[in-house]
Symmetry: C2
Subunit: 425 residues, 2 copies
């Protein structure tokens, strides 16, 4: 493998300026939820230019509503949710097939004035490239495409079928990843280059989203004592859910995977809207929330826990007792996942990592979800979450670390070469 590794290293190095330019192009697309289609069109063209057979479709084209892992959706239009799968089929295939998958959706920027640079106008400063999505995970998308480019540039081709998948909805449902399985794509292993800083994700928690919808009795504030303030009722429920989360974290101390991590269950009231007028007691308030669950805990039982918490808190408040809030499961209904140790795919990846980084591949346990669960949990494909280094994901001044990106790209190229096998093109 040493000779091939040297050829790949030279190819990755030779292509790296183009790769950074490619990543910058990716960041320029403001691919927040519902607006990923132009970027996906562009990627489809990029893959076609490279000789991939491209399957471009939308989530509205796919029947997946009854599949395990499907998450309910609101407030979006799946006829515009474009997915892209580029296939390179080996003739004949002799090695082990591989899916390389990355998501192109990014989370909202928040107040743009709090960014040092404009979030969709990528800027390089030293070793870092800044921009929304630069870290999570457009650099991963660049790494998988340029790892394959490097194999080709080295005069080689994989000896097994390769699928390059760019999906959407990773940040809110995972339905993009699910759609590729619904459409039939399978392989002997899956690699998702999320920004793990060169670690393998041993386990990740599950995640559920829900919306609390609280009513109030609006009155003129002069008679405020006769009304009920929906904003304060929502706050009452948020506090109850914080206590519920604390009890879940107390129980998590004995979890085999997350017992060593302080408070692995995160509860986040992430979006709030309520009321119409400063001088009227607000008649409504909605809070979009996120809560985690440990691997092995069923979504059903986790939902029951939240529902019980909200019901008990409502009974303890005069107005809510008679006007219980709506609890809407909207978005992520995502199981946790453990990559069982000992797979051949992981062994091959660890070896590629060691060759490139000169150190063992460490593992991490993630308190956030990723798309590997669909492949690993529901289809028994070893699903490896391993990728470059980024910072400030979901925050201001998100950035990708370019030296690590180069090394990770090489590690992925070496992994492909060993897993799929390569032959002279």
């Amino acid at each position: 493998m040493t000779g091939i590794q040297d050829r790949l290293r030279r190819a990755v190095d030779a292509g790296f300026a183009r790769q950074v330019a490619f990543l910058s192009d990716l960041v320029r697309f403001p691919s927040v939820r519902g607006q990923e289609a132009p970027l996906q069109d562009w990627i489809a063209r990029q893959l076609a230019d490279r000789g991939y057979s491209v399957d471009r479709y939308t989530l509205a084209d796919v029947d997946m509503f009854n599949l395990p892992g499907f998450s309910p959706v609101m407030d979006t239009d799946y006829t515009r949710a474009v997915q892209v799968v580029g296939a390179k089929r080996a003739t004949p295939p002799t090695g082990r097939s591989l899916i390389l998958q990355g998501h192109v959706d990014v989370v909202p920027t928040g107040p743009v004035e709090l960014w040092t640079h404009k979030p969709f106008d990528p800027v390089q400063r030293g070793d870092w490239l800044y921009g929304r999505g630069a870290g999570d995970m457009k650099q991963g998308v660049a790494s998988m495409i340029f790892a394959l480019d490097a194999i080709a540039a080295a005069g080689l081709e994989p000896a097994a079928d390769i699928y390059v998948q760019t999906v959407t909805e990773e940040e809110c449902t995972g339905n993009g990843a699910l759609s590729t399985l619904a459409r039939g794509y399978r392989a002997d292993a899956v690699l998702i280059p999320e920004p793990t800083d060169g670690t393998i994700t041993r386990a990740h928690v599950g995640v559920m989203w829900f919306r609390l919808r609280v009513r109030g009795v609006p009155v003129h504030v002069a008679q405020a004592q006769a009304g009920s303030n929906a904003i304060m009722s929502a706050f009452h429920l948020i506090q109850a859910l914080q206590r519920h989360t604390a009890s879940l974290n107390a129980a998590a101390r004995s979890d085999p995977w997350f017992g060593g991590i302080p408070d692995p269950i995160k509860f986040n009231p992430g979006v709030i809207r309520g009321g119409d007028w400063a001088s009227s007691t607000p008649a409504w308030c909605e809070v979009d929330c996120r809560i985690g669950l440990l691997p092995g805990v069923t979504l059903e039982s986790a939902r029951e826990g939240v529902e019980r918490c909200v019901a008990e808190a409502s009974r303890a408040e005069g107005f809510l007792a008679n006007n219980p809030p709506d609890l809407i499961w909207n978005g992520f209904q995502a199981d946790g996942y453990v990559l069982e140790p000992g797979s051949e795919a992981e062994r091959v990846l660890a070896e590629a990592h060691r060759c490139v980084f000169g150190a063992a591949m460490e593992e991490r346990r993630s308190t956030a979800v990723n798309d590997t669960r669909f492949y690993g949990l529901y289809h028994r494909m070893p699903a490896l979450c391993y990728g470059p280094r980024g910072e400030n994901h979901h925050g201001f001044d998100e950035r990708a670390h370019l030296p690590t990106l180069r090394q990770t790209t090489l590690a992925i190229a070496c992994f492909i070469a060993e897993w799929c096998g390569v032959r002279d093109a």
Copy 2:
């Protein structure tokens, strides 16, 4: 006066079906803030048809920014804020002049599905007419116009100058009322027929609006402990303001006007917005608030109290201590007002009320603001807030009580006849 009163009673009764139809027409205009202009145009035509000399202008036409009582504004376009003043000038004027003023702006409906009938599609059920603004205060606008119609229908005309003013911005700044003074309108008395259920408003509190703008540090919720949740910081400040309000109410127990009213100072967090994504800790949260102040308390000292409260609460929280919130005084900066007992105008109104209702006119103390302060406090005109009966102002299923509206219209007609004097037309 008995003969005139009988003539006016017959005229009010004869016109009452038209008056209810007129009120229904008023309610059909969805004259929420910024959208009052079509209704004002319609009223201007109605007044012109009745022989008034009409002055129609917008708030952008008036220089009033340095006048006492002016409230700062955001999020609105004063070139569309139409005001209407209809004048009937007596030749020669021999009696006492009068301003009749009502506001046509209404507060937002809240969730329309929680109304029994559509809020801008008025429905009469028994003694009640339902609709947003039916009570507050389109019935008052109808009462002042139809009181004057009744005087004309009785073959009479006022012996003094009469100004019929329909203004906007009563629910958020009062700048509509202020503009009529800036434009020069003055009279020997002012009557504002807010829905007081036949009581005279002896005193009203002041009101201030402000916006709290809180920042947070957005991070992926997986690292929630590294970020700061702007929604929870906003709640921290709301709780501090609740405690501040409680201490103001404790001090209010010795107030000469409001000492007998439990908790006359109302604090209301009325509108909240924050965050962009359920799985990101929210980077921003804004709360639009309303707080009252007692008559005689200066706006400056009341603002200082709020500012001190917010500053102290911020210092007590790790993130806010280094990232203090913005506090923006936006909307009402309204003084409280006391109608000093003993004015001749009030005596005349009380007598008209007694003649119509057969009982003494009672007084009320209001924990909400109204437009009388501009006339009474800054221009020493006796400003009477007296009008019909309504329910659910600012709430769902707002309604006007039609039998009281009829009586109040007659009482106002009798008041005009006595205050201004009448002669055969």
